[in-house]
């Protein structure tokens, strides 16, 4: 393990057979620990203090934007933090050092630890990215006995994703919405949907307050037109600016993504988005096992947890393999066009150059990469 890691991690001795001091006192991977770790007795207040120190440390003295992820520390403070972490995760430590628990449980605990103390995905090296997706895949297998396939492709060079929506073509069928829910493992309980299709009256322009985005009658309805909204992957995204922990950011290929494991669920980004692009998990997202899309990306459709933000990722798990997003593929009318904005031969570029295109709330300067046009 390198010395310049961006976080400190607890070695429970599963990966590392050699004597390691301070982990669980013995360094053995199985069997009992005769000597218990040296623990200082802490009062409730001290414990609280130590816990905060361990989790955010110096960062709490810094302003949101100034936060740095690689907090440097000497051996002593590292050990102090470690002690506190040990206390917080007493459960995991107990399991790990106990005689009675099997190796599966220990592995789970080990994965749990490493996941708990991993860094922000944005700052990870490719190796570290691979490490975390391996852990996530293994942990899913341990929990459900089923395998998933998770990848961590980075943005490809010379690619900037963009989207165009033909208002004259959309008939309001909502095939895109259900394809999106299935592709992206969205919570079935709360019926989360990234895409909204707004039914609007002809001749009145865009009136979102008067539009209906949850209609249920034969479509297209007489005298109405339909338009879809979702995250527009702004080139100048206000949601990214406000995140206090930098859990959401814009990738090189223009996708605005979220590290679900770094998000603290403050919902600032949701408030900052002028387009209603973000969705919050108020409860634990549930997807029936047989409906889980097992082709996942770390930044895309992998399973989320309660209390984190999510949104459309332009199906990063598909688009970084050259495919179209699920909504584009599902639309029976061809109202949705997706492609590489940097490629002058792409169809999206032809649309931008030859049709009269516009974007929503252009005056805000958010620069959405999602254009509307008409025949």
């Amino acid at each position: 393990m390198s010395d310049n890691k961006k976080w400190f991690s607890l070695d429970l001795g599963l990966n590392n057979k050699k004597e390691s001091s301070g982990s669980c006192g013995c360094g053995k991977s199985e069997g009992s620990c005769n000597s218990s770790p040296k623990e200082e007795e802490l009062s409730a207040d001290e414990f609280y203090e130590a816990a905060i120190n361990a989790s955010i440390g110096e960062e709490r003295h810094r302003d949101g934007f100034e936060q740095v992820f690689d907090v440097k520390m000497d051996r002593r403070s590292a050990f102090k933090k470690l002690t506190a972490s040990l206390l917080i995760g007493a459960g995991a430590v107990t399991t790990s050092c106990s005689v009675t628990t099997g190796s599966d449980t220990k592995e789970k605990a080990q994965i749990g630890w490493e996941e708990q103390f991993k860094g922000n995905y944005k700052l990870m090296t490719d190796e570290e990215k691979q490490g975390t997706i391996n852990r996530l895949m293994r942990s899913y297998e341990l929990r459900t006995d089923k395998k998933i396939n998770m990848t961590a492709e980075n943005a490809a060079e010379d690619v900037l994703f963009g989207y165009a929506f033909n208002i004259s073509k959309c008939q309001g069928y909502m095939n895109c919405v259900s394809a999106c829910v299935e592709e992206n493992n969205q919570d079935r309980n709360s019926e989360m949907q990234y895409i909204r299709i707004h039914e609007m009256k002809d001749g009145e322009g865009f009136k979102f307050d008067k539009a209906d985005d949850n209609y249920y009658h034969e479509v297209p309805a007489e005298g109405h037109f339909y338009m879809g909204t979702q995250c527009f992957h702004c080139d100048n995204p206000p949601c990214v600016e406000v995140c206090p922990v930098q859990a959401t950011w814009k990738e090189e290929d223009g996708l605005v993504v979220i590290d679900y494991d770094w998000c603290v669920g403050c919902r600032y980004c949701m408030a900052a988005c002028p387009y209603d692009g973000r969705r919050f998990n108020w409860s634990k997202p549930e997807v029936p096992e047989n409906e889980v899309n097992k082709n996942q990306h770390y930044l895309g459709n992998r399973m989320r947890k309660k209390g984190v933000m999510e949104k459309c990722t332009f199906c990063v798990q598909r688009t970084r393999k050259g495919k179209n997003p699920a909504c584009v593929e599902a639309c029976p009318t061809g109202a949705r066009i997706f492609g590489n904005l940097l490629d002058p031969n792409s169809t999206i570029r032809w649309v931008l150059e030859n049709k009269k295109v516009f974007r929503l709330k252009e005056d805000l300067g958010t620069e959405p990469k999602f254009w509307y046009f008409m025949d």
Partner: protein
Amino acid sequence: MKNRTLIYSVVLLLGIFLFSCKEEGKYHSISDKIEGESKPYHGILTSEELLADTELIEITEGEHTFLIPERKGQIKSFACIECHSKPVSQMMGKDAPKAHWNIKLNHANSDAMNCATCHNGEEMNQLNTLTGKNIDFNLSYKLCAQCHSSQFEDWKGGAHGKKVAGWAPPRASNTCVNCHNPHSPSFEKRWPVQFNTKTAIERNEGLGH
């Protein structure tokens, strides 16, 4: 001495400021960025694998060259001359078996269009243009383009219609008949596939309060 240090630091700061300004706001808008970094994509991502199972033919229309799905292999009873061994005019009669009874022409009105507008009664394996020129079934879009010229323009550019596979090159676009039934081309009214019961409940409750 003090002054000099001050000047140095001011110049340095200004330098940093200007430099960072340039890097940060290299482009004023997304259109500047698109223009500035535009170049034909020859990167690692391709749709080739996704297209591997589809029989495709390459067409060139104006300045656009792209792939479309081969059609003749998809038509159930091609080749037509296996039944239409004689021109239609000679086959019309009492003893010939009735065929294509399920096809109703629901495309323009009967003053403007009938079967022979597109089909060549003398040579059933071919389609024909309004002026009687033969068109291969694989290139049926050329018939549609005779009347639907604006849709044709949009389709060539990529604003109308759908891709066969992914966004990445090579470009393969579905042709007219892959989405439209040529005998009844417009899309039908139907129910949306999705209804959000949770949203409906929330909104109802919202009204009640």
